[in-house]
Structure formats: C-alpha cells, structure tokens
Amino acid sequence: MNLPNYFLADLPPEADLSPAMITEACLSLKRNRAHYLAVRDTPSVLRTLVRAGDDWLEADYPYRQFALAEGPAHTGFSAQIIATGLDSFFRQLTGENLEALLAQELGTTQRLDAFSASSSDSRTRRLALGTGPELVGHITAGCVPNAAFMAIVLGLLTRSAQFIKCSRGGSFLPRVFLHSLYGSEPKLGACIEMAEWRGGSAALEQALFAQCEAVTATGTDEAVEAVRRVLPPRVRFAGYGHQVSFGYVTRESLTSWRAKKIVAAAATDVVAWDQLGCLSPHVFYVEDNATGLALQFAEQLADELARREAAEPRGKVSTETAAHIAARRAIYEVRAAHAPDQTRHWCSRDSTAWTVVYEAEPRFALSCLNRFIYVKPVLDVAEALRGADPVRDHTSTVGLAAQEHELEGLAKQFARWGATRLCPLGQMQNPPLTWRHDGRPLMGDLVRWTDWEQ
C-alpha cells in the first residue's frame, strides 16, 4: 500500500512549505467544509466515526496493516506498541461513547443540529444551538498520536474544517488515520489538512492562524505560550501545556490477593506508548511502613517489565536518548553501591529497554521515559503529595491501586491537591473518550452558542 500525496504532510520532508501554500490550503478547507461538512448532521458524523473505529479494529484493515508495517520506522514504536495504542483509542470510538461525549459537553446530543433545550435551559425558558468554528488549527506535539486523533474526532463532531500541524516526524499515525477517512469519504477528507513543520516557524504559523477561528495547542508550556502570544485577537484558544503523571499504590492493595495484578497493571502503564505520553507515569509511590513492600514492588515490576519486553518490545531510541538513559543509570548504580538501603536499580541487560529505580527519597523525580520508572516508598498520601509538590501544577493523571474502601478518601485528597484525572492503575494511558483533557471542557472551547429566549 502506498499513501497518495493528498495532504501537505505527504510531501517529502525536503519540500518547502510557504505561507501562501498554507493560506491557499486553509481557503480550500473552508470552501470544502461549506459544501460537504457544514451540511452534515450529528447522526451522520457519528456513523462515519463509528465505522472508522470499527474498521481500525479489524486486523485485516489495510490502513491498520500499513500503520503497523511502516509505523516502527516512522514513529520509533514497535508494531506491538502501536497495535495496543491503536486498539485502546479506536475501541473507545463507539456510538455510545460519542453520544455520551456530546451529552457531557453540550447537554444533549442534538445541540449542534437544531435549537434544543438542556434541562437547565428548560427551566430558564431558553433554547440554544451550538455552532462549531469554521476552521480550527491544531498544533500538536510529540509522537503519541492520541492528541491528534482526538482533535480530528472533536473537529468532525463540531463540523469544523481542520488544519493539523504536527511536529517534525510526529505526523505518521494521524496521517494514516486521515488517509483512511479520505479513503472512505473523500469529501470529508477534503475538509482536513495536515502538515509537518518545526514549531516556531513564524511565517507559516501566522498564515495559518490568520485563517483560523479557533486554535488548540499541545506541547511544552513554552511552546503553548508561544502560540498564544502570536494569535490574532478574537481567535479562540485552548492550550494544553506539559503534564506529568504518577501512580499511587496502597499497602492494603499490595498485601491482598490482587498484588500480582497490580504489578502487571503498573507495567502496562510504563509500557504503553513506551511511557512517552503525558499520562504515562514517572513515579509509582508505594505505601511502605518500613516493611520493604515498595522494594518488593520494584523488584516485581522489573521482572514484569522484562517479560513485557519480550512480548511488546520498546521501540528503537536514538543514540542521544540511549546515552541519556545510560548516564542516568550510571549514577543510580553508584548510589546503589554506596547506600543500597536508599537506592536500588534493575536494568535490562545489554540494552536500555527498561529500568526500574527504587529510591527512598520521596521527592518526585522526572523520568527520562522510554520505560524508565521510579518506585518510591511513602508512609501515606500526605508524604507522597509533599514529594510531588514540585509538579503540583503540572500533574494530570494519578493511577490508583487501592482497596475499595480506601478509594474515596484517596480520590478526594488527590483531587483537592490538584490532580485532574484519577484512574485505576493500568489505565493511565488509556483515558475514555469523554476525558476532560487537563480538567477542562473538551468542546466548550470550540463551540459558539446562540441562545434563543422564548
């Protein structure tokens, strides 16, 4: 299978983009949207999305096969990791989930098609109709495709033309997804454009932003802020900066019959997308009252990561990344030899494929990722939260492993502290479609309401 040159991102890497090309692309997107997308109703868009989800879950779907065959070379992920990641996302793309998403964000599922009333609208004798932006620009970062996938889904739901800008080398999987949409519905595919360029290419970004009614951006805080600064006034903006995540495991859960399952779930979170998403854990805090439970957990996690490496190998990393991992391991090796009660480490042999570092110091540590995970013993939640204080404003997900009766108390503490998503361990990199990204509404930033008072 060869992908046709349909999107700007299909051009060879050496092809130079010009601001005029971007403007031209945006103008045709808007024309196509008026003809083909603005006229569609919600049920028909749902049908398209549900079919896409079903197709992508079929083992013999040509686009999926292509993504798995060519993906490792383009993305650095192994085929197994791509397959798991694709399955997690496309399994979510069901009619029920999409309707739940619309109901959550807009009150009812018909709000983009006709004037209608949510229950609170009825009480205040109003009807309201939502309209999506004519053109949304998405600035995405990194190599995990979920942000771009989700942007495409939300853009189609709001019947917006979309221009998706990926980071250099980051477009492959979203691009294959777009080709699959184009393959089944060319007119719909004609309402979405995708391009790759180096972030901060001012002339290209200015040309894009000048045409957009709304812009979303994911990336480092600096990159998101840089986009916000150059937006023309009145362009609506949703920025998602750098986030980190961690896990919390209670003593009770680890001493129960579920212990083995918890270790496997923790490994799943480290292995998913090779730990490169902002929902991937950097640290597992493990309740340990000087019982050695955390140390035991770390050791078992290392065994599990070794097993998983055989079945779902980590992707190839650059020499620089490997050097980064090797240098970190070297210092922990020295610390472990110096004070084994404070630091221990377990590493894959003859590769940088996985690393577990046990560190008694509760202060949060940023992992260098690519399956490099810290395990830290803490007395209780309060100690974990004190340790994680430096990343308090940057914490997305806390993965929890606890007994039923502990959960509510824990959840409240993490929520009040500032975490925006709590989930069972093992699900960290697999949020539901309705996940409120960084604790914010998903469509609220995009949709413009018309209120009609009766």
Binding site: T319, A323, A326, A330, I331, H338
Partner: protein, 374 residues
C-alpha cells in the same frame, strides 16, 4: 616491572612509562600492567569505588582486561568524595566549571598527585601546542584568557595554564581575566588589547590560551572596536571547552574563522584541547602546524599513550565499532589518587585510537529538570 605496592611506587613507574612514551611507542601490555596495578591500589583505597566494583563483580583478582575496570560517571564526583587522600592530605581541589552547576565535581590532589598531573600534562602539551624546536628562538609569551590561580584556585584549567606558562612560556606570560563576586570570569579587555598590541609591535610570537567563551568575548571586543591585531608569525591559539551559557555560542568553524580574521592566526595554528577536572591528562585535536585529518568542523582528539579513550555503546556498555557513535569513556593512568576510569556524558565517534567529539548528551543530572526547577 614489579607490582607497585603504594601510590608513590606506582607514580614512579608511571613517570618512567611517560618518559619512554616520548621515545618509543609503548607496548599495550605495559599500559595494561600499569592499569592493573593502579586498579588494585584504588580498589583498596577508595571505598566508594570498591563498592561499585564489588557490585559489578570486578575485583583486582578477577580483572581480565583493563577495559573491564568499572567506570565512574563524572556525576559521581559531585556526590561522593572519590579520593584515596585523607582529608588532611588534600592540598588542592579542582571543581568542575560552569556557573549553572549547584554542586560541582570535586577532584582532590596533594603535591605528589599534582606532580603526576604535570608530568602527564607537559610532554603532550609540548608536542601539540608548542612550536617545533627548530623555529623557536626564545620562548613565546603565553597570554591566558583566564583569571590567575590566586583568583581561581579550584580551576584545573587555570592550574594547567599556570603550569604550562611556567614550564614553557616567556617570563612575562600573563593571565588576562578576573574572577567576579559570582565566581564568573570576565576578560580584562584593556590588558588583553594592550598585550595583543604589544605582541604585534615587537614581533615576538604569542600563545593565546582560553575557553571558547573567553575567545568569543575577546573577538566581540575586537569587533566592537573595529580592530584587527595581527599576531606575529609562529603565534598559536589553544582553545578548550564549551560555553555553558556564558557567552553567545559560535560553531567551532566560525570561532576559528574569526580568530584567523581578527588575530591573523592561521587555522593550522589553532589547537583544540579536551580535558576536564575529573582527569589528569588532556587530548588535543592536532599538533600545531598540521592540518586536521577531518574537515574544519570536526577533528579527531588524541590522548597521550597513558590515557586511553573508549567510545562505548550506551545500549550495551561495550566499545562501538570504528566510525560509530557512543559515550566517551577514559582510562587515565595519571588519575592516581581519585579513580582511573571515568564515564563522561560526551557523545563521540570512534576514530582509530582517538575520537571525534559530538558534544554533551542531554542534561542528565537526576533532578536537574527545568520543570522541577521552575
């Protein structure tokens, strides 16, 4: 060779090795034998090194090859006192440079280990940086773009500049920078310009020594004043080290082109040095007067025969094939009283017995992330 039983004995053996190395190509076995003796001495006398070796399962009894001696990461010099010298014996400590580092590396010395340091430094420096004996009538004046030792007692680079000036420079050699209250270095522009003008007028060759960032400051100064001061024929430039955020960064080729343009020193007389406070030997990328083997943008560094460079795969820790990239690891027989094998965070390409430097791998200090510092 009998096995040295003390660091003093060992230092004597090493000195002999260094002296012979100037005349004949030393045998690999000799290097291996010295490495083995030093390993045994350091294993016994540096507890944190011993712990690392035991954790790796490498002991003097089990050591098969000097390449198996566990390498100490440079970062460990920040956390641990890696020295066989008791606190009372330490007369000098060299710190890693860099204003951004909260905790510097520390490398402790005493008179004896400094003597080894100089025995290692001087011949290799002379061979690469000094003019050949034939065209040198009287010693060149050394102009060091660094503060004097009294103002930078913990800089191994300043110690090196002082030692080579003393050994090879004219009596009026001098230091042309000062240390500020925040311990950053600033060029004494007036003194530097006066020294350069003096050289231009009297026609006596000079050797300019400094870090890349100090050369940038000097060149910026010349540019601001619209000056070109041509150094007399036979003058040399020795440039070392990175920038660490202390001046605008220039690609090496551009820096060297500016040196040639503003100071009239031809490219073949500009020598790059590679060294660090954790080591006692230095590498140079050419002998003055010779052209680089590679392009002007990249050059091959060589350590002296008593310090071996290995380029190791970050994945496996084993030596990479010729022409491949990996992390630079150094086994320095002159690192007598600390630890002999150092694992740097520098990426390099293996080129014969030498290496081509690619630069520092990403910042790796375990808690040094900008997100946490913010």
């Amino acid at each position: 060779m009998t096995t040295p039983s003390s660091f003093t004995d060992y230092s004597r053996c090493l000195n002999t090795f260094i002296e012979h190395a100037g005349r004949t190509v030393p045998a690999t076995e000799e290097f291996g034998a010295l490495a083995r003796s030093l390993f045994a001495l350091q294993f016994a006398a540096v507890p944190d090194f011993q712990r690392l070796c035991v954790a790796r399962g490498v002991t003097p009894g089990s050591l098969a090859d000097w390449r198996d001696i566990p390498a100490m990461p440079t970062t460990a010099f920040k956390e641990l006192e890696l020295s066989s010298l008791a606190p009372a014996e330490r007369t000098t400590v060299f710190h890693s440079s860099g204003t951004t580092e909260h905790r510097p590396s520390r490398h402790f010395h005493n008179a004896e280990s400094l003597a080894v340091y100089e025995a290692s430094l001087l011949p290799w420096f002379a061979r690469h940086v000094l003019p050949s004996a034939g065209d040198c009538k009287s010693p060149a004046r050394f102009l060091c773009l660094a503060p004097p030792p009294t103002q930078a007692p913990h800089s191994s680079l300043v110690h090196m500049f002082a030692a080579v000036s003393r050994a090879f420079g004219a009596p009026d050699s001098r230091f042309l920078a000062t240390t500020g209250a925040d311990s950053s270095w600033s060029l004494d522009s007036a003194a530097a310009l006066a020294a350069l003008r003096h050289a231009e007028q009297c026609g006596q060759p000079v050797l300019l020594l400094g870090t890349a960032f100090m050369f940038v400051h000097l060149l910026d100064e010349l540019e601001q004043r619209g000056l070109r001061i041509v150094m007399p024929a036979g003058s040399r430039v020795m440039e070392t080290g990175g920038y660490k955020g202390r001046s605008r960064e220039l690609p090496k080729a551009e820096l060297h082109a500016l040196v040639t343009a503003r100071l009239g020193v031809p490219p073949e007389s500009i020598i790059c040095e590679y060294g660090m406070s954790e080591l006692s030997s230095q590498a140079y990328d050419r002998a003055a007067g010779s052209m680089s083997i590679l392009s002007p943008q990249s050059s091959v560094f060589s350590f002296p025969p008593w310090c071996r460079a290995l380029v190791v795969s970050p994945e496996t820790g084993r030596e990479v094939a010729e022409g491949d990239t990996g992390l630079l690891r150094l086994c320095d027989l002159a690192n007598v009283r600390s630890v002999m094998t150092i694992q740097t965070e520098d990426l390099a390409v293996r080129r014969g017995d030498g290496f081509e430097l690619l630069g520092r791998a990403a910042q790796t200090e375990a808690r040094g992330c900008s997100l946490l510092a913010a």
